[in-house]
Amino acid sequence: MSGVGFWPPSTLEVVFLLLGLVAVGSALMVVTTKQLVHAALWLVVCFGALAGCYLVLTAEFVAWVQVLIYVGAVVVLLLFGIMLTRAPIGRSDDLDSGNRVAAAVVAVATAGVLVSVVVGGFQHAYADLQPGAGSAETLGASIFRNWVLPFEALSVLLLAALIGAIVLSRTDIKGRG
């Protein structure tokens, strides 16, 4: 595996890198844009690009779930949140706190540490991509054969989250105190 060099990159790698560039760029837009709604929309782009990345990495089922849940549900939920909190729709200059410089320093430092670590640790690792490793069939078999118990626990968690969200959102349920 380590025999494969970095140059020239294969087609898949080029596609992946382009998608990754889109994802990173749109993520940057998410955290820097001056308009709230645009942030949500850039998030859609980012998630879409990530779904593309998953596809390239042969995780097709996860990619579709990503599109369905993140792009379809989570972003819509966030948009609802923006709407319900009567956030300003247009440009607003006070979306960043005074903590920006410190945040940038910490983020850059985090990036530096993580990148140097992963580059140092995995520079010779090479994954042979074989289609079908992430198909719905294999994943379904795996989930319902080996991961049933976590799956069930997760369903209980979802139920709890559901009830919790309802309780938190409704104004006619008062606390005991």
């Binding site: 994802a23 998410v30 990345c53």
Partner: protein
Amino acid sequence: MHVVYPAVVAALLFSIGVYGVLARRNTILVLMSVELMLNAVNLNLIAFDVWLRDVLHSGQVLTLFVIVIAAAEVGIGLAIVLAVFRTRKAIELDRLRDLGEP
């Protein structure tokens, strides 16, 4: 496919998420940044699952679980944000300082 590529992309995404969490005032934007960080983790999970050819597909299965948990987290998070908004008429993080030393 070199594992370094997805790993570096994930690291950058994660750092961007960190920046967002630390720098944004609006709570909903902070939640979005958290989602970014979760997605960075997901990308890592997928990449290493593919690389390791895990027979249990634990990386991809965990990704699914994380997605589910993220959905639940966003739901609860938004409910909390809404509750805070109802009681305080503000969701700017740096205005919620009741626990600060006066």
